[in-house]
Amino acid sequence: MDQKEIIRIEGLTKRFSGKNGDVVALEGIDLSINQGEIFGIIGLSGAGKSTLVRCMNLLERPTEGRVFVDGQELSALTEKQLRQARRGIGMIFQQFNLLMQSTAIENICFPLLLSGVNRREAEKRALELLEIVGLSDKRNAYPAQLSGGQKQRIAIARALANEPKVLLCDEATSALDPTTTRSILSLLKEINERLGITIIVITHEMRVVEEICSRVAILDASHVAEMGKVEEIFRRPKTAAARRLLFPGREQRAEAPAFGAKNQRMLRIVFDGMTPFEPVIANMVLACGAPVNILFANTRAIEGKTVGQMIVQLPEAEDAVSRIEAYLNAQNVHYEEVTDDVL
Protein backbone atom coordinates (compact mmCIF):
# COMPACT_ATOMS: atom_id res chain seq x y z
CA MET A 1 0.00 0.00 0.00
CA ASP A 2 1.51 3.33 -1.00
CA GLN A 3 -0.49 5.35 1.50
CA LYS A 4 1.16 6.42 4.72
CA GLU A 5 0.12 4.47 7.74
CA ILE A 6 -0.88 6.53 10.78
CA ILE A 7 -2.11 3.93 13.22
CA ARG A 8 -0.82 0.40 13.53
CA ILE A 9 -1.96 -2.12 16.07
CA GLU A 10 -0.05 -5.35 16.49
CA GLY A 11 -1.25 -8.40 18.37
CA LEU A 12 -3.39 -6.38 20.74
CA THR A 13 -5.05 -8.25 23.54
CA LYS A 14 -6.97 -6.70 26.39
CA ARG A 15 -8.18 -8.64 29.38
CA PHE A 16 -10.06 -7.15 32.29
CA SER A 17 -9.64 -8.92 35.57
CA GLY A 18 -12.96 -9.24 37.31
CA LYS A 19 -14.30 -11.00 40.36
CA ASN A 20 -15.18 -14.09 38.34
CA GLY A 21 -11.84 -14.35 36.57
CA ASP A 22 -10.53 -12.54 33.53
CA VAL A 23 -12.76 -11.21 30.81
CA VAL A 24 -11.25 -11.04 27.35
CA ALA A 25 -12.32 -7.83 25.64
CA LEU A 26 -9.99 -8.02 22.66
CA GLU A 27 -7.74 -10.77 21.39
CA GLY A 28 -5.01 -10.76 18.77
CA ILE A 29 -6.10 -7.60 17.00
CA ASP A 30 -3.96 -6.47 14.05
CA LEU A 31 -4.99 -3.27 12.37
CA SER A 32 -3.49 -0.69 10.08
CA ILE A 33 -5.13 2.66 9.39
CA ASN A 34 -3.92 4.99 6.66
CA GLN A 35 -3.39 8.68 6.93
CA GLY A 36 -6.35 10.70 5.73
CA GLU A 37 -8.93 7.92 5.61
CA ILE A 38 -12.15 7.54 7.54
CA PHE A 39 -11.93 4.13 9.10
CA GLY A 40 -14.95 2.46 10.64
CA ILE A 41 -14.93 -0.07 13.43
CA ILE A 42 -18.30 -1.68 13.73
CA GLY A 43 -19.63 -4.34 16.02
CA LEU A 44 -22.53 -5.19 18.24
CA SER A 45 -22.55 -4.20 21.90
CA GLY A 46 -19.88 -6.03 23.83
CA ALA A 47 -17.78 -6.82 20.76
CA GLY A 48 -14.94 -4.77 22.22
CA LYS A 49 -15.00 -1.81 19.85
CA SER A 50 -14.97 0.88 22.53
CA THR A 51 -12.06 -0.84 24.25
CA LEU A 52 -10.24 -0.94 20.93
CA VAL A 53 -10.59 2.79 20.27
CA ARG A 54 -9.58 3.57 23.86
CA CYS A 55 -6.43 1.54 23.26
CA MET A 56 -5.56 3.94 20.44
CA ASN A 57 -4.82 6.74 22.91
CA LEU A 58 -4.07 4.42 25.78
CA LEU A 59 -7.03 5.47 27.90
CA GLU A 60 -7.05 1.70 28.17
CA ARG A 61 -3.68 -0.03 28.46
CA PRO A 62 -3.38 -3.16 26.30
CA THR A 63 -2.58 -6.35 28.19
CA GLU A 64 -0.46 -7.49 25.27
CA GLY A 65 0.53 -6.06 21.93
CA ARG A 66 1.71 -2.73 20.62
CA VAL A 67 0.00 0.45 19.48
CA PHE A 68 1.68 2.87 17.10
CA VAL A 69 0.25 6.29 16.34
CA ASP A 70 2.07 8.49 13.84
CA GLY A 71 5.20 6.38 14.14
CA GLN A 72 5.32 6.52 17.95
CA GLU A 73 4.85 3.40 20.00
CA LEU A 74 2.38 4.70 22.59
CA SER A 75 2.71 1.69 24.84
CA ALA A 76 6.44 2.42 25.25
CA LEU A 77 6.13 6.08 26.24
CA THR A 78 6.51 7.56 29.72
CA GLU A 79 3.48 9.20 31.34
CA LYS A 80 4.71 12.63 30.31
CA GLN A 81 5.49 11.64 26.74
CA LEU A 82 2.12 9.95 26.50
CA ARG A 83 0.34 13.15 27.57
CA GLN A 84 2.23 14.97 24.86
CA ALA A 85 1.31 12.34 22.28
CA ARG A 86 -2.36 12.48 23.29
CA ARG A 87 -2.50 16.11 22.25
CA GLY A 88 -2.09 14.88 18.70
CA ILE A 89 -5.07 12.54 19.03
CA GLY A 90 -8.50 14.14 19.36
CA MET A 91 -11.41 12.20 20.77
CA ILE A 92 -15.16 12.66 20.91
CA PHE A 93 -17.63 10.63 22.92
CA GLN A 94 -21.19 9.38 22.89
CA GLN A 95 -22.07 11.52 25.92
CA PHE A 96 -20.08 14.54 24.63
CA ASN A 97 -18.26 14.90 27.97
CA LEU A 98 -18.15 18.68 27.96
CA LEU A 99 -17.30 20.71 31.04
CA MET A 100 -20.79 21.52 32.28
CA GLN A 101 -19.71 24.58 34.27
CA SER A 102 -17.90 26.16 31.33
CA THR A 103 -19.23 27.96 28.27
CA ALA A 104 -18.81 26.64 24.74
CA ILE A 105 -15.79 28.81 24.07
CA GLU A 106 -14.19 27.91 27.40
CA ASN A 107 -14.65 24.26 26.56
CA ILE A 108 -12.84 24.72 23.27
CA CYS A 109 -10.06 26.75 24.92
CA PHE A 110 -9.61 24.03 27.54
CA PRO A 111 -7.22 21.70 25.65
CA LEU A 112 -5.26 24.73 24.42
CA LEU A 113 -4.80 26.07 27.95
CA LEU A 114 -3.74 22.57 29.03
CA SER A 115 -0.94 22.63 26.50
CA GLY A 116 0.21 26.04 27.66
CA VAL A 117 -1.24 28.31 24.97
CA ASN A 118 -2.03 31.74 26.42
CA ARG A 119 -5.65 32.74 26.85
CA ARG A 120 -5.76 35.30 24.05
CA GLU A 121 -4.30 32.93 21.50
CA ALA A 122 -6.61 30.17 22.71
CA GLU A 123 -9.70 32.33 22.33
CA LYS A 124 -8.68 33.35 18.86
CA ARG A 125 -8.30 29.73 17.83
CA ALA A 126 -11.56 28.78 19.58
CA LEU A 127 -13.44 31.38 17.55
CA GLU A 128 -12.07 29.89 14.33
CA LEU A 129 -13.15 26.45 15.46
CA LEU A 130 -16.62 27.67 16.40
CA GLU A 131 -16.86 28.95 12.86
CA ILE A 132 -15.83 25.56 11.43
CA VAL A 133 -18.52 23.74 13.41
CA GLY A 134 -21.06 26.45 12.62
CA LEU A 135 -21.80 27.61 16.17
CA SER A 136 -20.26 31.07 16.31
CA ASP A 137 -23.43 32.46 17.85
CA LYS A 138 -23.29 29.99 20.77
CA ARG A 139 -19.88 30.96 22.08
CA ASN A 140 -21.14 31.99 25.50
CA ALA A 141 -23.77 29.30 25.91
CA TYR A 142 -23.35 26.62 28.56
CA PRO A 143 -23.65 22.97 27.47
CA ALA A 144 -26.99 22.67 29.30
CA GLN A 145 -28.38 25.30 26.95
CA LEU A 146 -27.36 23.39 23.82
CA SER A 147 -29.01 20.51 21.95
CA GLY A 148 -27.31 17.14 21.60
CA GLY A 149 -26.07 17.90 18.11
CA GLN A 150 -24.75 21.30 19.18
CA LYS A 151 -22.95 19.73 22.14
CA GLN A 152 -21.28 17.24 19.84
CA ARG A 153 -20.23 20.08 17.54
CA ILE A 154 -18.60 21.86 20.46
CA ALA A 155 -16.93 18.57 21.42
CA ILE A 156 -15.62 18.23 17.87
CA ALA A 157 -14.28 21.79 17.94
CA ARG A 158 -12.61 21.02 21.27
CA ALA A 159 -11.07 17.83 19.88
CA LEU A 160 -9.68 19.76 16.91
CA ALA A 161 -8.19 22.58 18.99
CA ASN A 162 -4.70 21.10 19.26
CA GLU A 163 -4.65 20.35 15.53
CA PRO A 164 -4.58 16.57 15.92
CA LYS A 165 -3.67 14.20 13.11
CA VAL A 166 -6.20 11.67 14.27
CA LEU A 167 -9.75 12.03 15.53
CA LEU A 168 -11.26 9.13 17.46
CA CYS A 169 -15.05 9.01 17.55
CA ASP A 170 -16.43 6.66 20.18
CA GLU A 171 -20.10 6.12 19.29
CA ALA A 172 -20.23 9.84 18.59
CA THR A 173 -23.66 9.75 16.97
CA SER A 174 -25.31 7.03 19.03
CA ALA A 175 -27.07 9.49 21.34
CA LEU A 176 -28.39 11.58 18.46
CA ASP A 177 -31.49 11.37 16.29
CA PRO A 178 -31.12 10.37 12.60
CA THR A 179 -31.22 13.92 11.20
CA THR A 180 -28.66 15.20 13.68
CA THR A 181 -26.56 12.10 13.08
CA ARG A 182 -26.44 12.89 9.40
CA SER A 183 -25.38 16.49 9.99
CA ILE A 184 -22.63 15.43 12.40
CA LEU A 185 -21.42 12.81 9.94
CA SER A 186 -21.24 15.32 7.13
CA LEU A 187 -19.33 17.68 9.42
CA LEU A 188 -16.85 14.88 10.14
CA LYS A 189 -16.50 14.20 6.44
CA GLU A 190 -15.91 17.88 5.77
CA ILE A 191 -13.24 18.01 8.47
CA ASN A 192 -11.59 14.93 6.99
CA GLU A 193 -11.52 16.46 3.53
CA ARG A 194 -10.63 20.02 4.50
CA LEU A 195 -8.09 19.38 7.22
CA GLY A 196 -6.86 15.96 6.17
CA ILE A 197 -7.44 14.51 9.61
CA THR A 198 -7.66 10.74 9.85
CA ILE A 199 -10.94 9.78 11.49
CA ILE A 200 -11.71 6.54 13.28
CA VAL A 201 -15.40 5.95 13.76
CA ILE A 202 -16.69 3.44 16.27
CA THR A 203 -20.31 2.54 15.80
CA HIS A 204 -22.87 -0.21 15.96
CA GLU A 205 -24.84 1.24 13.05
CA MET A 206 -24.09 0.11 9.53
CA ARG A 207 -25.56 3.28 8.07
CA VAL A 208 -22.88 5.37 9.78
CA VAL A 209 -20.18 3.27 8.15
CA GLU A 210 -21.91 3.38 4.75
CA GLU A 211 -22.25 7.09 4.92
CA ILE A 212 -18.70 8.20 5.63
CA CYS A 213 -16.19 5.38 5.94
CA SER A 214 -13.82 4.23 3.23
CA ARG A 215 -12.70 1.11 5.05
CA VAL A 216 -14.20 -0.84 7.88
CA ALA A 217 -13.24 -3.51 10.36
CA ILE A 218 -15.98 -5.70 11.73
CA LEU A 219 -15.41 -6.62 15.32
CA ASP A 220 -17.10 -9.69 16.65
CA ALA A 221 -16.53 -11.45 19.97
CA SER A 222 -13.17 -9.74 20.64
CA HIS A 223 -11.76 -10.47 17.17
CA VAL A 224 -11.63 -8.72 13.83
CA ALA A 225 -14.04 -10.83 11.82
CA GLU A 226 -13.61 -9.01 8.56
CA MET A 227 -11.81 -5.94 7.27
CA GLY A 228 -11.75 -4.17 3.96
CA LYS A 229 -13.31 -1.55 1.74
CA VAL A 230 -16.84 -0.70 2.73
CA GLU A 231 -18.37 -1.45 -0.66
CA GLU A 232 -16.58 -4.81 -0.82
CA ILE A 233 -17.88 -5.92 2.54
CA PHE A 234 -21.24 -4.58 1.64
CA ARG A 235 -21.36 -6.54 -1.62
CA ARG A 236 -19.88 -9.74 -0.36
CA PRO A 237 -20.00 -10.15 3.39
CA LYS A 238 -17.95 -13.24 4.13
CA THR A 239 -18.76 -13.76 7.76
CA ALA A 240 -21.86 -14.27 9.80
CA ALA A 241 -20.87 -11.25 11.90
CA ALA A 242 -20.89 -9.00 8.85
CA ARG A 243 -24.28 -10.30 7.74
CA ARG A 244 -25.75 -9.72 11.17
CA LEU A 245 -24.78 -6.07 10.89
CA LEU A 246 -26.11 -5.79 7.37
CA PHE A 247 -29.47 -7.14 8.44
CA PRO A 248 -30.25 -5.33 11.64
CA GLY A 249 -33.31 -6.48 13.49
CA ARG A 250 -32.74 -10.13 12.68
CA GLU A 251 -33.58 -11.03 16.26
CA GLN A 252 -37.08 -9.64 16.09
CA ARG A 253 -37.79 -11.43 12.85
CA ALA A 254 -36.59 -14.77 14.12
CA GLU A 255 -39.82 -15.08 16.07
CA ALA A 256 -42.04 -14.13 13.17
CA PRO A 257 -43.17 -16.91 10.81
CA ALA A 258 -40.62 -17.68 8.13
CA PHE A 259 -40.91 -15.78 4.89
CA GLY A 260 -42.47 -17.56 1.95
CA ALA A 261 -42.47 -21.25 1.46
CA LYS A 262 -39.51 -23.37 2.38
CA ASN A 263 -36.98 -24.33 -0.26
CA GLN A 264 -37.72 -21.25 -2.28
CA ARG A 265 -34.73 -19.48 -3.64
CA MET A 266 -33.85 -15.97 -2.58
CA LEU A 267 -31.63 -13.32 -4.05
CA ARG A 268 -29.88 -10.50 -2.27
CA ILE A 269 -29.68 -7.50 -4.58
CA VAL A 270 -27.17 -4.82 -3.64
CA PHE A 271 -27.68 -1.23 -4.60
CA ASP A 272 -24.52 0.77 -4.47
CA GLY A 273 -24.54 3.94 -6.37
CA MET A 274 -27.31 3.81 -8.98
CA THR A 275 -29.56 6.78 -9.41
CA PRO A 276 -32.67 6.80 -7.30
CA PHE A 277 -34.76 7.40 -10.40
CA GLU A 278 -34.08 3.90 -11.67
CA PRO A 279 -36.86 1.50 -10.68
CA VAL A 280 -34.60 -1.56 -10.82
CA ILE A 281 -36.95 -4.14 -9.38
CA ALA A 282 -40.00 -2.95 -11.29
CA ASN A 283 -38.02 -2.89 -14.54
CA MET A 284 -36.72 -6.36 -13.82
CA VAL A 285 -40.20 -7.72 -13.21
CA LEU A 286 -41.49 -6.15 -16.40
CA ALA A 287 -38.52 -7.22 -18.49
CA CYS A 288 -38.51 -10.80 -17.24
CA GLY A 289 -42.25 -11.21 -17.00
CA ALA A 290 -41.84 -12.92 -13.63
CA PRO A 291 -43.05 -11.56 -10.27
CA VAL A 292 -40.78 -11.53 -7.25
CA ASN A 293 -41.68 -11.18 -3.63
CA ILE A 294 -39.72 -8.53 -1.68
CA LEU A 295 -38.81 -9.95 1.73
CA PHE A 296 -36.44 -7.32 3.05
CA ALA A 297 -35.51 -3.90 1.82
CA ASN A 298 -33.24 -1.26 3.19
CA THR A 299 -32.27 1.48 0.81
CA ARG A 300 -31.33 5.08 1.26
CA ALA A 301 -30.02 7.92 -0.84
CA ILE A 302 -26.53 9.07 0.04
CA GLU A 303 -25.24 12.03 -1.92
CA GLY A 304 -27.68 11.46 -4.75
CA LYS A 305 -27.06 7.75 -5.06
CA THR A 306 -29.12 4.82 -3.92
CA VAL A 307 -27.40 2.60 -1.44
CA GLY A 308 -28.87 -0.42 0.22
CA GLN A 309 -30.07 -3.91 -0.37
CA MET A 310 -33.13 -5.99 -0.97
CA ILE A 311 -33.90 -9.62 -0.54
CA VAL A 312 -36.38 -10.98 -3.04
CA GLN A 313 -37.95 -14.37 -3.26
CA LEU A 314 -37.50 -15.89 -6.72
CA PRO A 315 -40.30 -17.47 -8.73
CA GLU A 316 -40.37 -21.25 -8.85
CA ALA A 317 -39.94 -21.59 -12.59
CA GLU A 318 -36.29 -22.23 -13.48
CA ASP A 319 -36.41 -20.28 -16.73
CA ALA A 320 -37.82 -17.23 -14.98
CA VAL A 321 -34.92 -17.36 -12.49
CA SER A 322 -32.32 -17.48 -15.25
CA ARG A 323 -34.08 -14.59 -17.03
CA ILE A 324 -33.84 -12.55 -13.85
CA GLU A 325 -30.18 -13.38 -13.37
CA ALA A 326 -29.41 -12.49 -16.96
CA TYR A 327 -31.25 -9.22 -16.56
CA LEU A 328 -29.33 -8.26 -13.41
CA ASN A 329 -26.04 -9.20 -15.04
CA ALA A 330 -26.87 -7.05 -18.03
CA GLN A 331 -27.79 -4.13 -15.77
CA ASN A 332 -24.57 -4.55 -13.81
CA VAL A 333 -26.42 -4.96 -10.57
CA HIS A 334 -24.64 -6.95 -7.91
CA TYR A 335 -26.56 -9.88 -6.46
CA GLU A 336 -26.01 -13.13 -4.70
CA GLU A 337 -28.15 -16.05 -3.90
CA VAL A 338 -28.82 -16.41 -0.21
CA THR A 339 -30.26 -19.09 1.96
CA ASP A 340 -32.88 -18.88 4.62
CA ASP A 341 -30.43 -18.50 7.48
CA VAL A 342 -29.38 -15.09 6.23
CA LEU A 343 -32.57 -13.53 7.42
Binding site: I89, L99, Q101, P111, L114
Partner: protein
Protein backbone atom coordinates in the same frame (compact mmCIF):
# COMPACT_ATOMS: atom_id res chain seq x y z
CA UNK B 1 -35.52 44.73 78.90
CA UNK B 2 -31.75 44.17 78.76
CA UNK B 3 -29.19 46.59 80.12
CA UNK B 4 -26.79 48.33 77.80
CA UNK B 5 -23.97 46.13 79.06
CA UNK B 6 -26.00 43.06 78.27
CA UNK B 7 -26.72 44.26 74.73
CA UNK B 8 -23.01 44.95 74.25
CA UNK B 9 -22.29 41.46 75.47
CA UNK B 10 -24.63 39.99 72.87
CA UNK B 11 -23.03 42.05 70.13
CA UNK B 12 -19.55 41.06 71.24
CA UNK B 13 -20.58 37.42 71.48
CA UNK B 14 -22.05 37.46 68.00
CA UNK B 15 -18.93 39.04 66.52
CA UNK B 16 -16.72 36.57 68.35
CA UNK B 17 -18.80 33.68 67.08
CA UNK B 18 -18.55 35.02 63.53
CA UNK B 19 -14.81 35.39 63.92
CA UNK B 20 -14.37 31.85 65.24
CA UNK B 21 -16.62 30.27 62.65
CA UNK B 22 -15.22 32.09 59.64
CA UNK B 23 -11.59 31.62 60.64
CA UNK B 24 -12.11 27.96 61.55
CA UNK B 25 -13.95 27.24 58.32
CA UNK B 26 -11.22 28.82 56.23
CA UNK B 27 -8.44 27.00 58.04
CA UNK B 28 -10.36 23.72 58.09
CA UNK B 29 -10.84 23.97 54.32
CA UNK B 30 -7.14 24.65 53.92
CA UNK B 31 -6.61 21.18 55.40
CA UNK B 32 -9.82 19.41 54.42
CA UNK B 33 -9.96 20.41 50.76
CA UNK B 34 -6.57 18.94 49.77
CA UNK B 35 -7.30 15.85 51.87
CA UNK B 36 -10.66 15.36 50.17
CA UNK B 37 -9.05 15.73 46.75
CA UNK B 38 -6.33 13.28 47.77
CA UNK B 39 -8.97 10.76 48.88
CA UNK B 40 -10.54 10.81 45.41
CA UNK B 41 -7.33 10.97 43.41
CA UNK B 42 -5.65 8.14 45.31
CA UNK B 43 -8.75 5.95 45.39
CA UNK B 44 -9.10 2.66 43.55
CA UNK B 45 -10.69 4.27 40.49
CA UNK B 46 -8.85 7.55 40.97
CA UNK B 47 -6.60 9.24 38.45
CA UNK B 48 -3.51 8.27 40.45
CA UNK B 49 -4.36 5.25 42.62
CA UNK B 50 -2.27 4.98 45.78
CA UNK B 51 -3.95 2.25 47.85
CA UNK B 52 -1.75 2.45 50.97
CA UNK B 53 -2.00 6.22 51.29
CA UNK B 54 -5.70 6.10 50.55
CA UNK B 55 -6.43 3.51 53.20
CA UNK B 56 -4.25 5.20 55.84
CA UNK B 57 -5.87 8.55 55.20
CA UNK B 58 -9.32 6.98 55.38
CA UNK B 59 -8.60 5.38 58.76
CA UNK B 60 -7.14 8.57 60.28
CA UNK B 61 -10.11 10.61 59.08
CA UNK B 62 -12.58 8.10 60.46
CA UNK B 63 -10.79 8.01 63.82
CA UNK B 64 -10.92 11.79 64.15
CA UNK B 65 -14.51 11.87 63.02
CA UNK B 66 -15.64 9.29 65.53
CA UNK B 67 -14.39 11.29 68.51
CA UNK B 68 -17.26 13.37 69.93
CA UNK B 69 -16.37 17.04 69.57
CA UNK B 70 -16.75 17.88 73.26
CA UNK B 71 -14.21 15.16 74.15
CA UNK B 72 -11.87 16.29 71.38
CA UNK B 73 -12.17 19.83 72.69
CA UNK B 74 -10.91 18.84 76.11
CA UNK B 75 -8.38 16.32 74.86
CA UNK B 76 -6.81 18.90 72.58
CA UNK B 77 -6.26 21.45 75.38
CA UNK B 78 -2.47 20.85 75.54
CA UNK B 79 -2.20 21.20 71.77
CA UNK B 80 -4.21 24.41 71.85
CA UNK B 81 -2.07 25.80 74.62
CA UNK B 82 1.08 24.95 72.70
CA UNK B 83 -0.15 26.74 69.60
CA UNK B 84 -2.05 29.75 70.95
CA UNK B 85 -0.60 30.04 74.47
CA UNK B 86 -3.96 29.68 76.18
CA UNK B 87 -6.93 27.36 75.92
CA UNK B 88 -9.48 30.06 76.71
CA UNK B 89 -11.21 32.53 74.42
CA UNK B 90 -12.26 32.54 70.81
CA UNK B 91 -8.82 32.41 69.17
CA UNK B 92 -7.89 29.33 71.20
CA UNK B 93 -11.14 27.63 70.24
CA UNK B 94 -10.20 27.86 66.58
CA UNK B 95 -7.61 25.09 67.08
CA UNK B 96 -10.01 22.29 68.15
CA UNK B 97 -12.63 23.60 65.72
CA UNK B 98 -10.23 23.20 62.80
CA UNK B 99 -8.97 19.79 63.92
CA UNK B 100 -12.50 18.60 64.64
CA UNK B 101 -14.03 19.75 61.38
CA UNK B 102 -11.23 19.21 58.81
CA UNK B 103 -11.84 15.43 58.57
CA UNK B 104 -15.55 16.05 58.15
CA UNK B 105 -14.82 18.60 55.43
CA UNK B 106 -12.44 16.17 53.72
CA UNK B 107 -15.29 13.62 53.47
CA UNK B 108 -17.70 16.22 52.12
CA UNK B 109 -15.18 17.40 49.53
CA UNK B 110 -14.58 13.78 48.60
CA UNK B 111 -18.24 13.14 47.95
CA UNK B 112 -18.65 16.39 45.99
CA UNK B 113 -15.75 15.57 43.69
CA UNK B 114 -16.93 12.01 43.22
CA UNK B 115 -20.11 13.43 41.71
CA UNK B 116 -18.12 14.85 38.79
CA UNK B 117 -18.90 12.85 35.65
CA UNK B 118 -16.13 10.34 34.96
CA UNK B 119 -16.56 10.95 31.24
CA UNK B 120 -15.41 14.54 31.55
CA UNK B 121 -12.30 13.45 33.45
CA UNK B 122 -11.65 10.87 30.78
CA UNK B 123 -12.04 13.50 28.07
CA UNK B 124 -9.45 15.65 29.84
CA UNK B 125 -7.12 12.66 30.03
CA UNK B 126 -7.60 12.08 26.31
CA UNK B 127 -6.43 15.66 25.75
CA UNK B 128 -3.24 15.02 27.67
CA UNK B 129 -4.16 16.64 30.98
CA UNK B 130 -1.87 15.82 33.91
CA UNK B 131 -3.41 14.68 37.22
CA UNK B 132 -2.76 18.15 38.67
CA UNK B 133 -4.49 19.81 35.71
CA UNK B 134 -7.42 17.45 36.09
CA UNK B 135 -7.79 18.39 39.76
CA UNK B 136 -7.47 22.13 39.23
CA UNK B 137 -9.20 22.56 35.90
CA UNK B 138 -11.80 19.79 35.85
CA UNK B 139 -12.63 18.34 39.26
CA UNK B 140 -12.78 21.50 41.36
CA UNK B 141 -14.52 23.77 38.79
CA UNK B 142 -17.04 21.06 37.88
CA UNK B 143 -17.76 20.31 41.54
CA UNK B 144 -18.08 23.99 42.52
CA UNK B 145 -21.85 24.05 43.13
CA UNK B 146 -21.72 20.90 45.22
CA UNK B 147 -18.66 22.15 47.10
CA UNK B 148 -20.54 25.35 47.91
CA UNK B 149 -23.48 23.42 49.34
CA UNK B 150 -20.95 21.44 51.35
CA UNK B 151 -19.37 24.64 52.64
CA UNK B 152 -22.75 25.91 53.85
CA UNK B 153 -23.24 22.67 55.76
CA UNK B 154 -19.70 22.83 57.12
CA UNK B 155 -20.15 26.41 58.37
CA UNK B 156 -23.32 25.55 60.25
CA UNK B 157 -21.73 22.45 61.78
CA UNK B 158 -18.71 24.49 62.90
CA UNK B 159 -21.09 27.05 64.36
CA UNK B 160 -22.69 24.30 66.42
CA UNK B 161 -19.27 23.10 67.59
CA UNK B 162 -18.25 26.65 68.49
CA UNK B 163 -21.26 26.98 70.76
CA UNK B 164 -20.29 23.73 72.48
CA UNK B 165 -16.90 25.27 73.22
CA UNK B 166 -18.75 27.67 75.51
CA UNK B 167 -18.65 24.97 78.20
CA UNK B 168 -14.84 25.20 78.37
CA UNK B 169 -14.59 28.97 78.08
CA UNK B 170 -14.42 29.08 74.33
CA UNK B 171 -15.87 32.54 73.90
CA UNK B 172 -18.67 33.75 71.64
CA UNK B 173 -22.39 33.17 72.00
CA UNK B 174 -21.84 29.70 73.43
CA UNK B 175 -20.03 31.09 76.47
CA UNK B 176 -22.77 33.64 77.08
CA UNK B 177 -25.41 30.92 76.92
CA UNK B 178 -23.47 28.75 79.36
CA UNK B 179 -22.42 31.49 81.80
CA UNK B 180 -25.74 33.31 81.99
CA UNK B 181 -28.29 30.81 80.79
CA UNK B 182 -26.99 27.62 82.39
CA UNK B 183 -25.13 28.74 85.50
CA UNK B 184 -27.29 31.74 86.45
CA UNK B 185 -30.61 30.41 85.22
CA UNK B 186 -31.22 33.52 83.10
CA UNK B 187 -33.54 31.85 80.65
CA UNK B 188 -34.12 35.09 78.73
CA UNK B 189 -30.39 35.40 77.95
CA UNK B 190 -30.35 31.79 76.90
CA UNK B 191 -33.26 32.37 74.51
CA UNK B 192 -31.64 35.42 72.96
CA UNK B 193 -28.36 33.60 72.29
CA UNK B 194 -30.34 30.72 70.86
CA UNK B 195 -32.24 33.08 68.56
CA UNK B 196 -29.00 34.70 67.47
CA UNK B 197 -27.46 31.28 66.71
CA UNK B 198 -30.52 30.25 64.72
CA UNK B 199 -30.37 33.51 62.77
CA UNK B 200 -26.69 33.02 61.96
CA UNK B 201 -27.28 29.44 60.80
CA UNK B 202 -30.12 30.67 58.58
CA UNK B 203 -27.97 33.37 57.05
CA UNK B 204 -25.07 31.02 56.25
CA UNK B 205 -27.35 28.30 54.93
CA UNK B 206 -29.44 30.59 52.75
CA UNK B 207 -26.47 32.47 51.36
CA UNK B 208 -24.66 29.20 50.63
CA UNK B 209 -27.61 27.63 48.84
CA UNK B 210 -28.28 30.79 46.90
CA UNK B 211 -24.69 30.99 45.67
CA UNK B 212 -24.66 27.29 44.80
CA UNK B 213 -27.81 27.62 42.72
CA UNK B 214 -26.53 30.72 41.00
CA UNK B 215 -23.17 29.33 39.94
CA UNK B 216 -24.52 25.97 38.77
CA UNK B 217 -24.73 26.06 34.98
CA UNK B 218 -26.17 22.58 34.55
CA UNK B 219 -29.73 23.85 34.48
CA UNK B 220 -31.46 26.42 32.27
Amino acid sequence: MFSKEMLNLFLEGTLETFYMVVMSTLLAYLIGLPLGVLLVVSGEDGIRPMPVLNRTLGVVINLLRSAPFLILLVALTPVTRAIVGTSLGSTATIVPLVIGSAPFIARMVESSIKEVDGGVIEAAQSMGASPMQIVLRVMLPEAKPSLTVGAAIAVTTILGYSAMAGFVGGGGLGTIAVNYGVYRYQTDVMLVTLALLVAIVQVFQEVGMHIAARIDKRRR
